[in-house]
Symmetry: C2
Subunit: 206 residues, 2 copies
């Protein structure tokens, strides 16, 4: 049985505020989100928001770190896993990105935006380029198993094929006039296809 004193943490006022803040910040960005709206969404008072978090900036930083932390941690675990080979990682990455983004479709646009508007607020500990994944890629090139591609472009292709549809979703759904279900269905197909497309680009002989 859980200790009584700790149970309410998740539904505590502090958590309600963070949850509301994450929702609004992620949807509308820092500048367009008003603290009053966060308070309203959380069902509490504006003063209380400042009681728990000293300022809008502080609250934003916390939301940002939590938003990114969980996300990038998963990517780092995949790219630095020494037990899986290069090709398997292509599948794992596509699967991870698409699956995670289907649950958090607004995160990419939010992150890209704030990287431009407030780069100093971005916790950038992670770097795909130094990963075991890239080492494996270089190894495959050396063995002549894949076509030589600039590592930066390889990374942008892999990440872009996975993430771009979510960045472009608001515009895409408006242009094509399709609903959420149809979009998700498309993404599920991409999840399977992206590794194949990446292999084709690298001219891998199966």
């Amino acid at each position: 049985m859980l200790p009584k004193g700790k149970i309410k943490t998740d539904s505590s006022t502090e958590e309600k505020i963070k949850s509301a803040a994450r929702k609004l910040f992620t949807q509308k960005g820092f500048a367009a989100t008003k603290t009053r709206d966060i308070a309203k969404e959380a069902g509490i008072n504006l003063a209380l928001l400042n009681y728990y978090f000293r300022s809008k900036e502080k609250l934003f930083e916390i939301v940002m770190i939590e938003n990114l932390g969980h996300f990038f941690q998963g990517v780092m675990e995949i790219v630095n896993d020494e037990r899986t080979d290069f090709y398997k990682k292509l599948e794992l990455l596509a699967d991870f990105y698409i699956s995670r983004l289907l649950d958090n479709p607004d995160v990419p646009l939010f992150v890209m935006n704030e990287a431009r508007n407030n780069p100093e607020k971005l916790p950038m500990k992670f770097n795909l380029m130094d990963s075991f994944f890239m080492k494996q890629f270089m190894e495959e090139i050396k063995k002549g198993k894949v076509k030589k591609i600039d590592p930066s472009n390889l990374m942008m292709n892999m990440v872009g094929l996975s993430i771009f549809p979510f960045v472009a979703r608001p515009m895409f759904q408006r242009i094509r006039n399709i609903n959420d279900a149809a979009f998700e269905s498309l993404m599920l197909e991409r999840k399977k296809m992206i590794p194949e497309w990446m292999k084709a680009m690298l001219e891998i002989k199966k």
Copy 2:
């Protein structure tokens, strides 16, 4: 010789304001851009901005329409040109996107954002899916010349490979710690490679 009365239009106060507005809105988005900053950038007074354009919103709409108009017009001309074949269009599209974006690197992120925040303000006359380009693609599939891919996913791949690097640029440059020149050099390589990658995805036999 040009009629004297029309010459100054481009350097008129109205144009200076629009130009300043386009620059700032595109760089920082609607909410984060202050009318005072626009006036300052244009070298005029705040009151004058409201004299020419009734409000911040009005000014924004005009900038948005001009930003998108010029851009999409070029795309539509390419995809609906009946003189070029499917494969040539892949090259023309990549070339157009990358070239145009190298001159306006902030536009994609701006557009994606405002498509989310103010979808009703987006002038969405264009639709890649009804284009001659897509007709040609379907034809190639029917002839068994290319692999069958969902048209939506084909479009997202083509657009994403071209545009995504610019959307992700702020984050990408921060992570990789590269300067503008290095980024541009990478993009120039992509301009050549994207058509090849697209063809590889479609398993086209050369």
